[in-house]
């Protein structure tokens, strides 16, 4: 038996690099790492330009883990990567935190379960993704925020191209993922903002019901980015869960 001291946090689309918002506050509890995904301005961009599935990213991050158990977390697109990792190697993880994850299609063919982040204007993403759009920060999209240099917007376009490479069709989900969710016998916390309109709380709640050991928590007054919009509430929900699941070894 030991204790998991690292958390791998997989970032969402459009979010600035690094441990922003509540992620910096979790640093008291665990060593949090927020790697930039290949294609999104990472050192691996050139070497990985042929990668075209979230399975590639999951394989990459799994390969990079050394033997220890870690806490795995992901938000939105990063939540999808985390789920792909969890179904492949559930025993590598002491806990799993999913923030409004993409990746699993739950309802009918004409139900739009994920907002079209690759079509919408940045202002629309903010409208759908924030309970209080005026409070937005921490996001970078083409032309957003206003007044940045060309290089920043070029990176934002490159991020969008990378997301399209991984997630264009089927859009933001992998039809093969749902059939393996039952193997994720990892303590899991699904965290959502109750005002998220990028992926609805109903979607995340239903997904939590398909994961064997998942709790579901809704944070009031937050949208798709509760770790940015309501960082204190986010830490209050996540820190006790992580602390309670830090003893490792049982699964190894």
């Amino acid at each position: 038996m030991g204790s998991a001291e690292r958390m791998l946090f997989l970032h969402d689309a459009d979010v600035l690099p690094g441990p922003i918002g509540a992620l910096g506050q979790l640093d008291d509890l665990v060593d949090i790492e927020v790697p930039r995904h290949p294609g999104f301005g990472s050192p691996l961009d050139d070497a990985t330009e042929e990668w075209d599935s979230v399975a590639d990213l999951a394989q990459h991050y799994l390969h990079d883990l050394d033997g220890e158990q870690v806490h795995l977390a992901g938000a939105g697109f990063g939540g999808w990567i985390a789920l792909e990792m969890a179904v492949r190697a559930p025993r590598r993880f002491a806990s799993l935190v999913l923030v409004s994850p993409y990746g699993v299609k739950l309802f009918g063919p004409t139900d739009r379960e994920f907002a079209d982040v690759l079509l919408l204007d940045p202002s629309e993403v903010v409208e759908l993704g924030w309970a209080d759009p005026a409070a937005v920060y921490g996001l970078r999209m083409p032309g957003f925020p206003r007044g940045l240099e060309d290089a920043e917007y070029e990176q934002a376009f490159a991020d969008r191209a990378a997301l399209a490479r991984y997630a264009w069709k089927p859009f933001l989900h992998d039809p093969r993922l749902r059939r393996w969710l039952h193997v994720v016998d990892v303590p899991t916390l699904v965290v959502v903002g109750d005002r998220d309109r990028m992926v609805t709380p109903e979607h995340s709640r239903t997904l939590a019901g398909l994961l064997p050991r998942a709790d579901y928590v809704e944070i009031p007054g937050a949208g798709h980015y509760p770790y940015l919009e309501t960082p204190e509430a986010f830490v209050s929900a996540v820190a006790p869960f992580v602390a309670a699941n830090s003893m490792t070894g049982a699964g190894l």
């Binding site: 690759l118 999209m141 083409p142 060309d150 070029e154 990176q155 969008r160 191209a161 399209a164």
Partner: protein, 403 residues
């Protein structure tokens, strides 16, 4: 100079309110606004106009767009089949099939071969990437658009010319057995035309020896992309390309007086109306370089859409006026760019059929004979675009044009 008649076959009955609500006429327009009876009447009218144009000596062009009130052509090959059945003489330019948006290149090879076979080789076969917004109706990944275009082309050409059963296991397309019937009537295959301004695509088109088409570009941009083509063709050992390797699409309306031509011709502006497209429709992820995407974001692309009617006439993008005026405009277009094929958008929006027919007849009677000899003896013409005369540097085009 060869002259093609073209209409996008618009459905012009959408109110401004509805257009504004849906951010333009294209790609995301609910089809409840389509009336089947009015649609039928429009199709008959547009096909009648193609038939008249053929009788008057025009060649003919068809295209396709999707989920759009500005275009009722849904498949360039289907439209070509309809136009072929109505006409006898003119060449039918299919410009074009958006290769990355079609699921099956083999099916494209079959359809174009069929068109060529039934018409004893009246087909010019255009291949295009598909404009940005087409990404959404087809849902094909824009990141791979250019690479899919090249692979689909290679597969189609193989299907036309291999003359044996073959397998294709490429990056995007997978077939274990390919041997399309019929083969094209024109051997080894119909002339291929490509439209675009991206350097990589222009240079590739030149190396293949295909005809390059510029749609509604400002003359200096058009000349720039043709210059790039000429340089690449010469570097590939193909010699200096003749004007027939270049095509330009312009608006056109002729009338007996300048005043009348301008009054009616202004209706052609309909085509340039730009909806407030969403970011992802204007710049689909990965469709262009990040530098081009940022230039688009900063409003540096597609500037033709912002030109006034008068400026469009001055720039020669609107060929509007009396037959004499338009003949001079076409001469100037040739002098500045060296183009040998002119695609005339003789109709847009709410122009009536009579307005279109009157212009077609007058153009046929007075302009066509005057411009037909232009470019025939291009090696003797003293023009700025001839490779030996052209001292301008070769530059990338950051497109005033619309595709």
């Amino acid at each position: 100079m060869k002259c093609y008649h073209f209409t996008e076959m618009p459905y012009p009955y959408i109110s401004q309110e509805v257009e504004d609500e849906h951010r333009g006429l294209k790609y995301f327009m609910p089809n409840r606004y389509y009336d089947p009876v009015r649609g039928y009447e429009l199709y008959q009218r547009y096909l009648d106009e193609y038939e008249l144009a053929d009788e008057l000596g025009f060649d003919l062009m068809v295209n396709e767009h999707h989920q759009s009130a500005s275009t009722l052509h849904v498949s360039a090959t289907l439209s070509a089949a309809s136009v072929l059945a109505r006409t006898r003489k003119g060449r039918v330019l299919v410009l074009g099939t958006p290769l990355p948006h079609r699921e099956s290149p083999v099916r494209v090879a079959e359809e174009v071969a069929y068109l060529d076979a039934i018409s004893a080789g009246r087909i010019n076969c255009g291949f295009v990437r598909g404009v940005q917004g087409e990404t959404y109706p087809s849902n094909q990944n824009p990141v791979h658009n250019m690479d899919m275009f090249f692979e689909a082309h290679d597969l189609i050409k193989e299907a036309w010319t291999r003359q044996d059963l073959f397998s294709w296991e490429g990056r995007f397309y997978h077939y274990r057995y390919v041997s399309v019937w019929p083969r094209p009537y024109q051997q080894p295959h119909p002339p291929i035309w490509v439209s675009g301004t991206t350097s990589k695509l222009v240079e590739w088109t030149a190396r293949q020896g295909y005809t390059l088409c510029n749609l509604l570009g400002a003359y200096d941009d058009t000349a720039r992309s043709f210059r790039l083509y000429r340089k690449a063709a010469i570097e590939a050992g193909l010699g200096e390309p003749a004007p027939d390797k270049f095509a330009y699409l312009a608006f056109c309306h002729v009338a007996p007086t300048e005043e009348q031509a301008r009054r009616v011709g202004e209706k052609l502006m309909y085509y340039l109306k730009q909806g407030r497209q969403r970011l992802g429709a204007a710049s689909p992820p990965g469709y262009s370089s990040t530098a081009a995407a940022v230039a688009a974001l900063r409003g540096k692309l597609g500037e033709v859409r912002k030109y006034s009617f008068e400026r469009l006439i001055d720039e020669g993008i609107m060929l509007v006026g009396t037959p004499d005026t338009v003949t001079k405009q076409i001469q100037r277009l040739y002098d500045e760019t060296g183009v040998g094929n002119l695609i005339l958008m003789n109709h847009a929006g709410e122009m009536t059929s009579n307005e279109v027919r009157d212009s077609l007849c007058l153009f046929s009677r007075e302009v066509m004979p005057a411009v037909a000899p232009i470019g025939r003896d291009w090696r003797d013409d003293d023009t700025s675009w001839r490779v030996d005369n052209d001292t301008q540097p070769v530059e990338t085009v950051l497109a005033s044009a619309l595709s």
